[in-house]
Symmetry: C2
Subunit: 196 residues, 2 copies
DNA sequence: ATCGTAACTGATCGTTTGATCAGTTATGCC
DNA sequence: GGCATAACTGATCAAACGATCAGTTACGAT
């Protein structure tokens, strides 16, 4: 019984995000993803052609959502660079708290120099990296942000913002008493870290 | 031609660390690991019984090395907690800079609540976590360290110390101009972050 | 020297993987 | 109402997986 193509694709993408982020690219199987989204494995390949193209479509979808959480705070603002930066950080932390899968996926792919990493850097990472590091450099020139290579600062922010949420199974096992409202404290940590 | 059992095992463990850390548990195959260490796949299983026990043996080996890089700075010191902490941080950063695989492996396993994660927490993580968070709490009581849940501070330190090195393929692609002596700057970042 | 045992290999088992394809069902258009 | 087409399924492929096992090699103790 054919449904809307968009509905089926969205269900497959959601299942793919869950499986790829927890099991890794090789660990996740297209049969498993198809079963979790309630369709035959062959339908998954009918819509996305191959496992790798499904992975790319899932990444496109995820980065599109991440950009809409961060970008509005950055564009064409008249505020100082540091204020723009912190507004973007708040949006990014909120996104990571709500969906830890993006950072899990990025860490999985960022450790080996594969074809998938090259695709990720050229398609999604480069533009954001260049934009944010320019903002960091401006904030440093204003005397508002701490010194250091902007790329290093950039990755320090990302790791502080995302690691707590992406390692939550491990952290929950070690410190079950820790509260669940970690986002506010994470923002405070980054603000304190960024300040000169 | 039988070699020493210890030599063969060490070669297999080194190859396993490289494959598991870059491809993930499912992505790495015992055939690949055996080929990289120059022996038959059946010999690998002869020495380690199964893929999962090989993975555990590799983790035991790696944590043993990590502990010898950090522990000497912590035990039975008469210095204040903050000074002990920073000494341990310097040892840990140096270890991460020399061998980024441990953190890669930890991030891979820390995101899904599998049997392997449970084994990791109980066998290797719990003791270190309890020891370091107690030190953090003491440094906070001394008024030397910033406030916040010690486990949150603990994971902030770990992510700051390790992420830069474990994501080096991605970072090298984005900012090839960045220097290679990142360890000193990372230590400075953590020291600044920890201070009250 | 020889004998027991640890180290090691090659062949092979049953499963699971990504992928292909012929065939079936339902929807939207004229 | 028929009809082209998009949506979808089940069967099946070759390849790779973890694992088992019978058989071979070489070292070390007696």
């Amino acid at each position: 019984m054919p449904r809307s193509s968009q509905t089926t694709k969205a269900q497959i993408l959601a299942a793919a995000k869950e499986r790829f982020s927890t099991l890794g690219y090789d660990g996740a199987s297209t049969r498993d993803i198809a079963e979790a989204s309630g369709c035959a494995q062959s339908l998954l390949l009918y819509h996305f052609s191959s496992k790798e193209l499904l992975w790319q479509a899932m990444m496109d979808d995820l980065f599109s959502k991440a950009r809409s959480a961060v970008a509005p705070h950055l564009v064409a603002s008249t505020e100082p660079a540091m204020a723009q930066l912190m507004a973007g950080v708040r949006g990014f932390v909120a996104f990571c708290a709500a969906d830890a899968d993006l950072h899990r996926l990025m860490v999985q792919e960022g450790r080996a120099d594969t074809g998938r990493l090259k695709w990720l850097v050229e398609t999604h990472l480069r533009a954001t990296h260049d934009q944010i590091t320019a903002l960091i450099a401006q904030a440093q020139a204003d005397g508002a942000a701490r010194p250091g290579h902007p790329t290093l600062i950039y990755y320090a922010i990302i790791s502080l913002a995302a690691t707590i949420f992406s390692l939550s199974p491990e952290i929950d096992r070690l410190a079950p008493d820790m509260g669940l409202d970690r986002a506010a404290e994470v923002v405070a940590i980054i603000e304190n870290f960024l300040a000169d």
